[in-house]
């Protein structure tokens, strides 16, 4: 029982440490920041980034 838990933990650890997972975590955090800055419709974000959004190609504002 204990050894099976340990092996699950080990597998999870190996999974988290794997290069694909690290890369996905990195890209997800980057993507989340991009969403917040350029694409979120949250009023505070929109108002702050209004001019930048209007002056960047491929970014919709209204």
């Amino acid at each position: 029982m204990y050894s099976s838990k340990l092996s699950t933990l080990k597998r999870a650890k190996q999974g988290v440490l794997s290069v694909p997972v690290q890369a996905i975590l990195f890209l997800s955090l980057g993507s989340l920041s991009l969403w917040m800055l350029f694409f979120s419709s949250y009023p505070a974000t929109h108002n702050t980034m209004h001019q930048t959004r209007h002056h960047t190609l491929g970014v919709g504002c209204h």
Binding site: K13, V16, L17, V19, Q22, A23, L25, F26, L27, L29, G30, S31, L32, S33, L34, W35, M36, L37, F38, F39, S41, P43, A44, T45, N47, T48, M49, T52, R53, H54, H55, T56, L57, G58, V59, G60, C61, H62
Partner: protein, 378 residues
Amino acid sequence: MKRSIWAGLSGAVCLSALALSGAAASAAPRVELQTDPPLSQIEPFSEPVIFSLKAVADDGQPLEDAILELLLNTPPKTPWLTTDFPVVEGTMLARLTLPAPQGEAQFQQVPPIRGSYQLQVRVSPRVPGTFEPYTDLLTFQVPENPVKYRNLAILLSILLLAGLGGGWVIGGSQPPNPGEVASRPVQLVLSGTVLVAIATLLYISITAERAGAHTEAPTGQDNYTEPLNAEPVPTNITATLEDQAIATVGQAIPLEVELTRAETGEPISAAVLDINTTSLEYERTVFDFTAQTDTQGEFVWEQQFFDGAPHLVTVHVSPAANSSIPFEPFEFSQRIDVTGVAPPLFVRLVSLGYCTGVLALGTAAGFWLRRRSTQHAL
């Protein structure tokens, strides 16, 4: 020899056909369009552009005493490389009727986005039967603001560099220390990215709070305001300006000006209306034209408020030269609050996909470079 004769003959036929088609094209009644600044110098969502239209008859002479019915449509939708107003793409920007006593009319409009606009002009005589009405479809191209290309290049460069850095660290693949989930460099990269996300949130929150603190309280004149230099409406005239729908980005709404004599309710026809729409956010004209009231003392037009911000529509009224009801020129205005519409989720996800793709490309390149340099070192 025969071949050269045939070539000469066919060339002459082609030239004649071209000449004939050119003559036919110039013979048809048409509408000529000029812009100030020239089309190549126009920037979208910037200064207003003066559009000058001239209705020309078969013989090239301007058609006098004409009426121009205009329908201005925005460029078609571009979901794979959106403009900054995706909701405005493929919609009606304005529909209005302008008098053209000398066959010429003008209006000013800020083109909101890049792309190919369509302006449909129907030319008809003010006095029926003077000439045959016709319709001309004009298209004009508005180039993109060059600043946008520069800013996109900067953004993509930052993403590529960030990706390269991240990929370089992840590509190191050092084993973690005992008791740690990830190796130190990977921990640093992920912590650094989290810090960037936190800093972004902090910046946005603080800027939003500061902007909120500087916002002035509403004056209570949201529905009707008079400019400081307004010439007041004479007491013997009733002037109204009605927006007949809630102004929303992406939809043209009908507006109506009505002028009557206060005592009798008699309509004031053929009054000259200089109608100006100003964006209160940017304090600049976005739409401007001159029209006339009809026999009912009314003028109806449709226009789209493409920016989700308050606007001020000002009407300057003056009597026509042959007006039966003399009055002093006057001015009145109305504030129009415009409901903004968020860009469609699909459009935003497409653009986010491009940016994330560049970040991924940088990460892959960084990873590959690190692995290659490690292998070379071994």
